[in-house]
């Protein structure tokens, strides 16, 4: 197995005046803990508190590829939100558990993507050290992102370079660099400066190298012996800091979290509790919570969602963008700011409104985003009745009770709806008889085929209750001139309208347990399995006891022993990373 240190050196050697040239690589990441990567880290002597959850449950160490949003957050948090990054990382494929993030541990990285990452790294590095332009109102980033001034701008300054490398590298690598690592990067900065006669260009070269370093781009779980469980492993302090940070902030740890890792405090129950409380109180929590719900609610689909403008003239791109934002704002406000019951997210009338979105809801608005409450007699309550859910789970030109029912079961109740059989006849719904005016009538005809009936029985009674909202999420009372019958049922509970569905979902026992399952899997970056049952059972208990408060669930997950305990390494670990490289003629790589 190729060691991470070896790989780091090889990547570093690629640094030079032109850096990457003609290199294509494919990385295949697998389940691979990198044990004892930081074995010099002092092990904290502490016993996990008994009420933090089962102590014999572990998670699996992984190497995960950073998501596009995590990369963007990292750059914004380390260098500022005015640094432009483009789109260096493509979307992930959704994993069987319904989350994107848990597939980040098994992705392929083609050579073309490495080139894109390198291009972004060069762009970011250039911006970080630029000298600004007053005429174009561009700030001199170097004046505040580089913590010192070189003695001369056209000559190496090892001391200044080391200061930048040590401070910036610590944030990017999510761990302190040792003297040897710093010296290696300083050498590269010197080499670049001498070649280019520009201290900042040399520094930019080093930063570019850091930004394409696998240990920056991959979130690697490294382990150490667990003193509380002899013979077992736990995440080392830095990996625990990263896991917490990507879970709660969807970004890299900040200085305070890294200090807690450096001191070992984060490995003690009290220390971890202090860090978690600090992270829960941070404004960065909003990024983390929004990222989780964006993932859980499949909002990546908004990136490719389009409505037929001839059918839904109000559903512009601005409306769809705001629809996504509305529900994320509502979720954060409801769950975190107001600390309300998670289940009530599906019955609350409180939300936020933008002018573009207000046109679809047919309500007045004020400029910008503003709090808004649907009146008590409004047909809308809860995020199921938001445009986001209704439009996302519809066809471009018509609503779909089936897609809505399927989405509710799969994303909110963690149930699996089988795909349609390959020989299914969709003509009853796609090329309907003109006498079938409503979706209910069309689906009833479709269900006359017993092959179709099985699945539709579990989706349609849910989705038909949302038929008062068309494929754009606009309220309607009739379709094809026929008054809509919005009655339905959810696992035995009957209702007559969308509000009834919202109430039924609120009371469904699967609603909170699904959130627990998704959130725990999201936090540890892995699909949950039978092994996790005790942990999930304990979290469900805690969640219920807290009155279904999400901050309490976040805290319980983050503090649970399972969050930091890892399974023993396999006896014969498979190679974690396979790398192939083709060096182009004339490449400077040596």
């Amino acid at each position: 197995m190729q060691s991470i240190q070896t790989r780091r050196s090889r990547y570093s050697r690629l640094l030079g005046g032109t850096f990457w040239m003609g290199v294509t690589s494919a990385l295949v990441l697998g389940i691979a803990g990198c044990a004892n990567y930081m074995t010099d880290q002092p092990a904290a002597e502490a016993q996990p508190a008994a009420d933090l959850g089962p102590t014999d449950v572990t998670s699996v160490p992984r190497a995960r590829f950073m998501t596009a949003q995590q990369y963007a957050n990292m750059i914004a948090d380390v260098f500022g939100s005015d640094i432009q990054i483009g789109t260096p990382i493509p979307p992930l494929m959704r994993s069987p558990d319904g989350l994107l993030s848990t597939s980040a541990g098994s992705v392929g990285i083609p050579g073309g993507q490495l080139m894109q990452l390198q291009r972004t790294a060069a762009t970011v590095a250039h911006q970080v050290v630029d000298k600004g332009d007053i005429g174009k109102e561009l700030p001199a980033h170097r004046s505040y992102l580089v913590p010192c001034k070189p003695k001369a701008e056209n000559a190496p300054d090892d001391a200044c370079a080391a200061k930048f490398i040590r401070s910036t590298g610590r944030l990017l690598f999510r761990r302190s660099l040792d003297d040897a690592q710093v010296a290696e990067w300083v050498g590269k900065a010197r080499e670049g400066t001498e070649r280019l006669k520009d201290f900042y260009a040399g520094l930019a070269g080093v930063l570019e190298g850091m930004l394409i370093d696998p240990m920056v781009l991959l979130i690697v779980d490294t382990t150490e012996p667990d003193p509380t469980r002899p013979g077992q492993l736990r995440l080392d302090a830095y990996s625990l800091a990263s896991r917490l940070s990507f879970f709660l902030w969807n970004s890299v740890p900040n200085d305070a979290v890294l200090k807690a890792a450096e001191s070992g405090e984060i490995q003690t129950p009290a220390g971890r509790a202090r860090v978690v409380e600090m992270m829960l109180a941070s404004p960065r929590l909003e990024h983390g919570v929004r990222a989780f719900f964006d993932d859980m609610l499949h909002y990546d689909l908004f990136d490719s969602l389009a409505k037929d403008g001839m059918v839904y003239s109000r559903e512009s791109g601005a409306v769809l963008k705001d629809a996504r934002e509305q529900t994320l704002r509502t979720a954060y406000d409801h769950l975190i700011v107001r600390n309300r019951d998670y289940r009530a997210l599906f019955t609350t009338r409180d939300t936020f409104m933008s002018p573009a979105l207000a046109s679809v809801y047919n309500v007045p608005a004020v400029p910008g985003w503003a709090p808004y409450s649907f009146p008590e007699d409004s047909p809308r309550k809860g995020i199921l009745n938001h445009v986001s859910f209704l439009a996302l789970h519809s066809h471009p030109g018509r609503s779909s009770p089936t897609l809505r029912g399927k989405a509710l079961r799969e994303t909110l109740l963690c149930q699996v709806v089988p795909p349609p059989p390959p020989n299914v006849d969709f003509s009853a719904v796609e090329d309907p008889d003109a006498n079938l005016h409503t979706a209910r009538e069309r689906l009833t005809a479709h269900r006359s085929n017993p092959v179709c009936a099985g699945c539709h029985k579990i989706t349609d009674p849910i989705g038909l209750a949302l038929e008062n909202f068309d494929g754009a999420g606009q309220y309607r009372v009739s379709e094809g001139g026929v008054t809509i019958d919005a009655s339905g049922s959810l696992d035995g509970k009957q209702f007559n309208d969308p509000q009834g569905l919202a109430d039924a979902l609120h009371d469904h026992p699967g609603l909170p347990t699904c959130l627990v399952k998704r959130m725990y899997g999201y936090g540890v970056g892995a699909l949950t399995t039978d092994v996790d049952k005790p942990q999930l059972a304990w979290l469900n208990q805690r969640f219920e006891a807290s009155g279904y408060r999400v901050p309490d669930l976040l805290r319980a997950i983050a503090l649970s022993p399972a969050f930091g305990n890892v399974a023993e390494r396999p006896a014969a670990p498979k190679p974690a990373i396979k790398t192939t490289s083709l060096t182009a003629p004339g490449s400077v790589a040596r």
Binding site: K307, D308, G309, Y312, S313, R314, E315, S316, G317, A318, P355, A356, A358, S359, V360, Y361, N362, V363, P364, A365, V366, P367, A370, P371, Y372, S373, F374, P375, D377, S378, Y475, R476, V477
Partner: protein, 359 residues
């Protein structure tokens, strides 16, 4: 009370009614008795078919600034006696009489309103057979390419500015509405809106359901009140003596259309209002409005300003001055609007209630 929350609270009270208004037709008007619209498109109301030769057997306008200049100064000459002289005439058209042939639109079909209640020899007949349509402006500009749909450039730009520039949101608010099908006494108020219109999914049209705040500062001069009635879904207002309607304003310099006997005739639905603004356009201010367009724009339609001025004067048909010269010309604008929520400003405590300036 926080001002934003106050406004929201005020808006929220009518939101459901508004929501149902679009879903259920006019029934919910019973609650609010109010509906608002924002102007999205205006076109000068000229009868037009696809067949240019039939509409204008003499062809389209042929003498624009470039053609007249070439004919007047075939050998060029000193700038002050050629280019500047001609440019000066744009602003002082009375300095020289009409010199070139002007193509007037002929035909008997016209678009507009019977403004004087009479049927005269120069009046048009509408496509639906209504007699006595007064629209003398159709005679002046009906055969000018700049004013023909859909590519007529002045209208194309004017409506583009509605979507992109800041001064072009003109609203109407209809109050005292019993239903959009029939209301015996409604009041119509014209306002200037402060907010951008909402583009629809095509990126070009305007979606209904937007919100417009009333401009009670710079928009005060255009706040106007009309009385009317709705019969069979058509709003017809009584004329007001003097009316203003903003259009095609760019560079944030208000250039207003000044009408006499201005009135509205609009077909109303919960989502749209389409129809006519009609009246007698003040000739001098209309000329000023039109020549605000650069000479190159006028050139595209071969509309020489000085020649146009005299044509306008010739066809003017109302409001004679002391010399017996007509000072206004019958005309109409086709107007398209979409429903919008109109947000009234909250009165500020201790401040005198705002009143509109002109009426």
């Amino acid at each position: 009370m926080n001002k934003t929350f106050g406004v929201l609270a005020a808006l929220a009270t009518t939101s459901l009614a508004a929501s149902v208004a679009l879903a259920d037709g006019s029934e919910s008007i019973a609650d609010t008795r109010t509906i608002g619209y924002v102007t999205t498109d205006l076109h000068w109301a000229f009868h037009q078919t696809q067949d240019v030769d039939k509409d204008c057997p003499e062809g389209l306008a042929g003498y624009g600034p470039r053609e007249t200049f070439k004919e007047l100064y075939p050998n060029g000459g000193p700038v002050e006696k050629t280019q500047l002289a001609r440019e000066s005439l744009k602003f002082f058209p009375r300095d020289e009489p009409m010199k070139f042939p002007y193509i007037y639109a002929k035909g008997t079909l016209g678009v507009g309103v019977n403004l004087d209640g009479k049927v005269g020899p120069d009046d048009y007949v509408s496509a639906t057979g209504e007699q006595g349509i007064d629209n003398a402006l159709q005679k002046v500009l009906g055969c000018n390419a700049q004013f023909r749909r859909p590519e007529g450039q002045l209208q194309l730009f004017g409506n583009k500015f509605v979507r992109t520039s800041t001064w072009n949101r003109t609203l109407i608010e209809i109050t005292n509405v019993d239903s959009l099908s029939r209301s015996d006494n409604v009041e119509v108020t014209i306002y200037r809106g402060r907010d951008p219109v909402l583009l629809d999914a095509t990126g070009e049209g305007v979606a209904p359901g937007g919100t417009q705040r009333i401009d009670m500062r710079w928009g005060k001069p255009i706040i106007q009140h009309l009385k009317g009635k709705i019969v069979d879904g058509v709003l017809t207002t009584e004329p007001i003596k003097q009316g203003i309607y903003p259009w095609a304003i760019y560079n944030d310099v208000p250039t207003l259309l000044n009408w006499r006997d201005m009135r509205l005739k609009l077909t109303l639905t919960p989502e749209r209002a389409d129809g006519l603004i009609a009246g007698y356009m003040d000739v001098e201010s209309y000329y000023t409005w039109l020549i605000a367009w650069s000479t190159h724009h006028l050139s595209y339609g071969r509309l020489d300003p000085a020649e146009f001025y005299w044509a306008l004067r010739k066809m003017a048909d109302a409001y004679p001055n002391e010399q017996g010269e007509m000072t206004a010309i019958s005309s109409a604008l086709e107007v398209n609007m979409v429903q919008a929520f109109i947000s009234h400003p909250e009165p500020i405590a201790g401040e005198r209630k705002m009143t509109d300036a002109m009426h």
